[in-house]
Amino acid sequence: MIRFILLQNRQGKTRLAKYYVPLEDSEKHKVEYEFRTHKVIYRRYAGLFFSLCVDITDNELAYLESIHLFVEILDHFFSNVCELDLVFNFHKVYLILDEFILAGELQETSKKAIIERMGELEKLD
């Protein structure tokens, strides 16, 4: 399962952080640098690092591609996503993430389904 997801820029500023295991705040800050008993799967898009911490036995490539799928969804949603989109609309990113991952597992892998769902939610707001 995914233990946490982190989105940080090159300066190490956190743009998104979501934990699926209970951690204290002090642990969270530490975690952003080291987390040894699990593996961290990460991918860089321009200046942004997307990191997933997963179990040691999890399928690495599958999680690596789920990062890309997430980025594609963001890209679609923000039409040509850039870091600023994620900064000013961090609350939207959380919404998207909640449609994508739940309980540390992938919930939906259809880009279309997630984008449509976001449309529904926008109308409610």
């Binding site: 998104l16 209970p22 036995t57 490539l61 959380y94 309980a103 769902r117 409610l124």
Partner: protein
Amino acid sequence: MTMHGMRGLSVFISDVRNCQNKDQERLRIDKELGNVRNRFKNEKGLTPYEKKKYVWKMLYIYMLGYDVDFGHMKAVSLISAPKYPEKQVGYIVTSCLLNENHDFLRLAINTVRNDIIGRNETFQCLALTMVGNIGGREFAESLAPDVQKLLLSSSCRPLVRKKAALCLLRLYRKNPDIVNVDGWADRMAQLLDERDLGVLTSSMSLLVALVSNNHEAYWSCLPKCVKILERLARNQDVPQEYTYYGIPSPWLQVKTMRVLQYFPTIEDPYTRRTLFEVLQRILMGTDVVKNVNKNNASHAVLFEALALVMHLDAEKEMMSQCVALLGKFIAVREPNIRYLGLENMTRMLMVTDVQEIIKRHQAQIITSLKDPDVSIRRRALDLLYGMCDVTNAKDIVEELLQYLSSADFTMREELSLKAAILAEKFAPDLSWYVDVILQLIDKAGDFISDDIWFRVVQFVTNNDDLQTYAAAKVKEYLDKPAVHETMVKVSAYILGEYSHLLARRPGCSPKEIFSLLHEKLPTVSTTTIPILLSAYAKILMHIHPPDQELQSQIWAIFNKYESCIDAEIQQRAVEYLALCQRGAPLMDILAEMPKFPERKSSLIKRAEYSEADTAEQSAIKLRSQQQTSNALVVTDQHPANGATSPISVGELSLVKVPSMITSENDTSTDLSQQNGALSNVDTQPPSADLLSDILGPLAIEGPPGATVQSEHNAISGLEGGSDAVDGSAIVPVEEQTNTVQPIGNVAERFHALCLKDSGVLYEDPYIQIGIKAEWRGHHGRLVLFLGNKNTAPVVSVQAIILTPAHLKMELSLVPDTIPPRAQVQCPLEVVNLRPSRDVAVLDFSYKFGTNMVNVKLRLPAVLNKFLQPIQVTAEEFFSQWRSLSGPPLKLQEVVRGVKPMPLPEMANLLNSFRIMICPGLDPNPNNLVASTTFYSESMRAILCLVRIETDPADRTQLRMTLASGDPTLTFELKEFIKEQLISIPTAPREAAPAPAAAQPTPQIPPNDPAAILAGLLS
């Protein structure tokens, strides 16, 4: 697209971004937090929009790393807002700021439940999402049924159901009891017919967790998973939106194959064939393509398929296909795939016998040892270590040595340990081994643990041919300008013992050796000085005729250290000086060190320790590893749930291994003790001991007392007559029939070994069988030490293991002859398949002179060896206890005829069987409550709970209640404990027979399989 503006929020974010430095940022944040606090003071005056905005701001501030504890309450209270926008913020921010351990969360539990059972789909989604992400045990207990309803509901949209599936997964991880196995398995199977791939993906994750804990209940899901996999792999009826770069949901494929890896095997031939066709298609149909995403996705599926093939132990042909594929991967440029190729090759080594095929890739693997990526280097090291054997040890070890000088510091210790182990295990000749170890110390002295140099000293001491070579070699190293302290230690030891063998060589006179060593003294620490002092004393002793000058020099040094503050150094200095001045005693005391008893290298033990760990993973393959991950929360509750996290060899050095200096309790010492204690042999007639009866008659004929007596005479006679035979060589005078009397009580020895892991299993005048065992989960590794006590060989040795059905046992080859005074070690691997009290029997026979001896010995691979004590909290105990409500999972029995004993003694007895007393759980001081986990291959770890209620007025009876998740286990464990309580085999027997009424049942019931087994064989 439309962005609902929250201007205030955007302005604030801009402000923070425009701050020039951290101090400015802090000022801006503090200002904002002050503002938010103020505004919330008068909450009634806030509009819903404002509340929402402030709570989002707090999340943003929190993300920047600031403390917003005061906002927790605000976020939680928004959850109960009536309108969606506020409620949404409440839910989302709460699940970011809080975790399951926050008390505030409890305040929301009612609202959350109302949202889940309410009619508003959006609210349902919000609630399910938050519970799925941060819900804890309390949520599990109060919400599980509602969440299950949503998952199965036909009126809910897939949107809600997929969230319900994962929410349920979370709750299950918090408390596995919430999924009622009986009804649930069928529902789970139905869920797999789902057409919506979103719901199916979520359900599959749920299934992985369920089968990882208990695959038995979910057999009906297996064919459905194969079907799903087939549908995906053939790309039948997969909506476009669920393909990823043309690949039908790679994630669902991976998950589905994960599920299949939890089933030990696939019996239905049709399902099996279908699955293999699909796997074959995946293995063969995956190519390396340009598009990196497509490549990754297809290889994600491929590696999972490989894991599944390894797990199913497919036909050899498929395996070699896999190796060929992996060979291709480790040569590709793409680092991720190369990494995975190496990792999977290592895994494959442990599963099947593919070493020869893998060896073909040795050169390529060695290249990866120099890869710029440290992760790849580590995998390459693991693989090289795993594939090393006698044929390639020299190449591989030399490669490792070469790499050592350039390796980064983080890897050096692991690297040198591995090189040392391989050198010892596979050394083609011993001088090469010495070379390797000295090179290691030279190149990476800081990373060489004491075990490594102890071991080389041990080897040199025990091999006369090696001594001169080693002494010359260490001298060469000492001549170098910079010498590592460990090198000084090993050199001092070896030169102290053996430098006299070099005395005729140039530069090796005692004086020169002494000054070579002594010039190192100022540079070394206090742990090395004692070794140097011993070396000086030894050098001095070897000089003939005495060299007055050297002598006075060394005496002066001893003199100086006589007042050293370090006790060890001081003592040695005082003693050596006194000895030297006495002259003659010096010779005796400082004589060459005797040979070390040949015992297993602690290094290799270390390696085996790690191998055992990894092997376990391989034997049950991914299942065990996965269990750690999927049972995440279960492990929180029961730390000993079999979920030993895989230990990398890198952590090995943390394992404290007894060094060779501390003498272990090994059989050689037992041997002499046993011999010394000959006259204490139990002279009771065997029939008095019901337990020894079972096996006793097979070996014992005639009154034992007389035989022992005659043997005793024989010894004294021999001792008087001949110097050649010492006490341990007992040659009976009468070499007659096949009546050979065991020494000691066979049954008592067996019972003692049931409680400890090493000791003597059997002994007679000719032979001694020692045993040493290690237990890990459902695996056991026993070593039988067959020792010939005589000066003539023991021949026609045969050892056959009669294995009961619940165990899998494999005895390594037992030699036909045991040479005089020699000991052979025969490892015996044990795997526990399921609970049973049956006992394995060793049918052992040999011939000595005219005596043909055959004994049948019970082996202490008994039920309690597969137990692991576990401490549970009252809460865990009682929730388990309640959920296991009655027969056959919970059994109760009134046991009479119990050997009366005080309660603490009974507690000790249970503890000694690895059934752990949990004090304080039972309010009644006359009761005992205990828990343990049972390991078997078929069921993995199962928690067992025990309660014993005693009657202080009548200690011969008690009521016992046993509970576990498996009916057989409950029964077997109950009977096992009963047997232990009725008879206490280790307690010294009293002369008076036990009162007849005290034993209504025999200690071993007549239908005891061990008795039957032994009976059949006699």
